[in-house]
Structures are given as C-alpha cells and as structure tokens.
Symmetry: C2
Subunit: 138 residues, 2 copies
Amino acid sequence: MSLPASNSFPAPGSKTELEEGSVLTPRFGPDGLITCVTTDAASGEILMVAHMNAEALARTIETGEAWYWSRSRSELWHKGATSGQIQTVREIRTDCDQDALLLKVQVAGDGGCCHTGRRSCFYRKVESANGEIRLIAD
Amino acid sequence: MSLPASNSFPAPGSKTELEEGSVLTPRFGPDGLITCVTTDAASGEILMVAHMNAEALARTIETGEAWYWSRSRSELWHKGATSGQIQTVREIRTDCDQDALLLKVQVAGDGGCCHTGRRSCFYRKVESANGEIRLIAD
C-alpha cells in the first residue's frame, strides 16, 4: 500500500476555490489537525468527534477505513484496530471552508464507538433548570 | 439578562468525573475554544461545525439560541443575528471527555445555515477514483 506523503494535499487557495472548487485542500490547524465528525451511515447518529492529520486523512481515503490522530497518545490511530470497532467509510464530506470533515461510517464488531462502552460518545444531555446546569445520561 | 461570567464553568476533574459525572466541565482548548457540531433537530442533518468560547456557551445555555465564537472575526457571534437564520436550541449534548458539544437546533428564517447559501455547510463529497481525489457538490 503506497500512502500519499503527509504533505500531499494541495495548499488551500482563494476563498472561492475553497468554497466552490473541486479540489480537496484541507485546512489543517496550527497543530496540523483537522476536526472530523463521524456519524453512523445508516442511522445518521453522531458517534464521535475526533481529529486527523494529513497522514490519517490520506490513509482513510486510501484504505476506506477511518484513521485519526490521537491527541492524547500523539500517534496515528486506526480506529478499531484494538477493539474490533473498525469504521468502514461510506462517505467523506468537507465543509464550506474545508476546515472540518464529515465521515459516514459502518461500524464493525459490536457496533460501538466510545471507549466507555457506549455506542456514541454523546451520551449525556446538558440540562439547565433554575440556574443549575446538569448532565443527564441517556 | 445576567450572563454567567466567562470563567463560570467548573474546572475539569478526574477522568471518571469527566466521563461519568453530572457536572458540565467543558474542556476548552489552549485557544479557549471548544468544538461544536450543530445538527437540524428534526432531520438530524449535520449543518455546521463551529467553535464556542465559555461566554458563547454560557449565552447559548441561557438564551436558548446558538452563540459561537467567530475565529475569522475574533468576536462573539449570535448566529442568525444578521441573516435571520437564528438557531433555537432543542438539545445540547457533550461527549465522553467533554471536549466537544453537539447542538440540535431549529433554524429560523429560510432554514439555511451556510454563508454560501446552502442549507448545510457539508455540501461536497470527497470522491476518490484512480488515485485522483475530487470534491463533488450535491
């Protein structure tokens, strides 16, 4: 498998090129990362928010499985390599100014995503009543 | 309207408190911002990815309308104040380690969200064929 070099994405162009162009020019932040929202391709449920560096994005496109950059471990992260919760990519989208990605995936293994054992990382609602803010788990 | 001070969210606690607790302790990044994914409460469609500082989050909770921090303009941003595309918040969720938020909103005005005129900012797919990567608009 020959992976694109981590600097293989073209540099971002003008605002018009970014917004209306057909060239993927991801706008990685100062830390070299771009935000990625991952949803279940079948249900649309939001599973997680994670980050990719250029190499993780290149590997994701090339292999059809989700790769991220683990900020806590400072390493490339093939999601599911340990847990079996491999994410097969059904669609990748980018947003208007190309500083965010959307991955629609099918999850293998037990179908879960969150390291706490839940299906989605977003298992708590923020509730506000009488000036008090609380988190309520589903 | 008395807004919470921008430092009014409690500091993040232990990993267990972050993941299993009922206290909202958002983990703002070094830039003071937290990532926010915003979806259409009715359809589940992902509309945008933006950022909030503590004051934007406090105002969002207090007013029930989405406030963000505009990184390009370096200012608080009451979404829709100019366009009429006010986002009324139906639900706020946070993820396992409280470094991302999910807003489910109902959009006023013409129901759109993206400054390019599209309903969602994610109007282009990333397609890869024969080693060539292209963006295809819907």
